[in-house]
Symmetry: C2
Subunit: 216 residues, 2 copies
């Protein structure tokens, strides 16, 4: 449970219970995926009655969708919102990547629940896949937009393929999640940042070929 | 079902039935993951009786492990074996990446079952996670070894961090799997190869800075 997160929610008792249930649900989904997230398994974890949970979520699917929404809200809060405070360009793009690599650990989750959902539903047509694809599309667009801003401010070369940059950033983050268990969180994070810096160095505009460290 | 694949298996009728069951199991796991792969769901898909399946696999776990073994065998056959026929160095490394990106499609699978298993079990301790981690470790080692060969033959610079290359290749492949639904298989494959070429171009030894295409 994330106390600070719940504190932000002010509302009726029902809303606060719902927030607590969703916190537990996000935690469960990040460990065991969304298919294992059932009214029954959640009742067991939270100690609430199944009928109590049914009052909040009418079905397994409704619970799954609400959990994905809550995970997305937390993702936006942890990854995008702090990056938006950085100046447009490579600093913002770099903050996005770093926050994305780090957010499951910072949120004390075992893994990224949105990544778990993507893997689970990519090949299973239905409302969960539609919801997941919509989020992937949005994320890809935001990454390309942040890369385009780095072009616009003259840090990346004008001919930069920003969709290719987005594609490679997705790979860097996924590899850091995947390799974390084998090599430990710190090394996975370090490798991710090395990869990102290399990606960016290859795309810098000729007038901005100064090592990133020197420009901080 | 993969007829050519079954044809290679010569043995008793029991062995051939087992091979057919495992083909169906790999297909199921590549779509819905390994947790959804139960004796019951497999009986439904194959039309065999549950008791018949229990004769081959004593438990859900045994079935899952056997399916992961079979997926790994096919992965080795589709990805590593053809690459081993290429000369040591960048040609072999490039073949590994290309075969890895392509193998689920070539095997007519909806996704890579080993990738599905990695995502499912990374955060769930137990025999399946152990088996998955062992395969990830092996794959990482083989990728780094192939990159080291490219260093040894003078194509990559001596200071190349081959574990970093392996880390980034994992990311490129995962991103191609992840993005395939959004952008289509062909574009995902193209982006993966672009990313790989860029990765390699940045690591070439100074004496080998000739475009790859010119050296074929």
């Amino acid at each position: 449970m994330n106390a600070a997160h719940n504190f932000l929610r002010q509302g009726t008792k029902g809303e606060s219970t719902r927030a607590q249930i969703l916190d537990a649900a996000v935690e469960m989904a990040s460990e065991g995926g969304f298919e294992a997230l059932t009214i029954g398994s959640l009742a067991e974890k939270t100690g609430l009655s199944k009928s109590g949970l049914f009052a909040h979520f009418g079905s397994k699917l409704e619970l799954q969708i609400a959990t994905l929404d809550e995970a997305s809200r937390r993702f936006t809060e942890a990854v995008f919102m702090p990056a938006m405070k950085m100046p447009r360009g490579l600093k913002r793009l770099g903050a996005l990547v770093e926050n994305w690599v780090e957010w499951p650990a910072r949120a004390e989750l075992k893994g990224c629940p949105i990544n778990a959902a993507s893997e689970e539903y990519n090949h299973q047509p239905g409302p969960m896949r539609d919801a997941v694809l919509e989020r992937q599309r949005l994320l890809e667009r935001e990454l390309a937009k942040a890369a385009q801003m780095a072009v616009d401010v003259g840090e990346l070369a004008p001919e930069t393929d920003t969709m290719q940059i987005a594609f490679e950033i997705v790979g860097i983050v996924l590899s850091s999640y995947r390799c974390e268990l084998l090599m430990g969180h710190e090394l996975a994070q370090k490798r991710a940042l090395t990869a990102f810096n290399r990606l960016i160095d290859g795309a810098r505009s000729p007038s901005a070929k100064v090592p990133a460290a020197a420009r901080r």
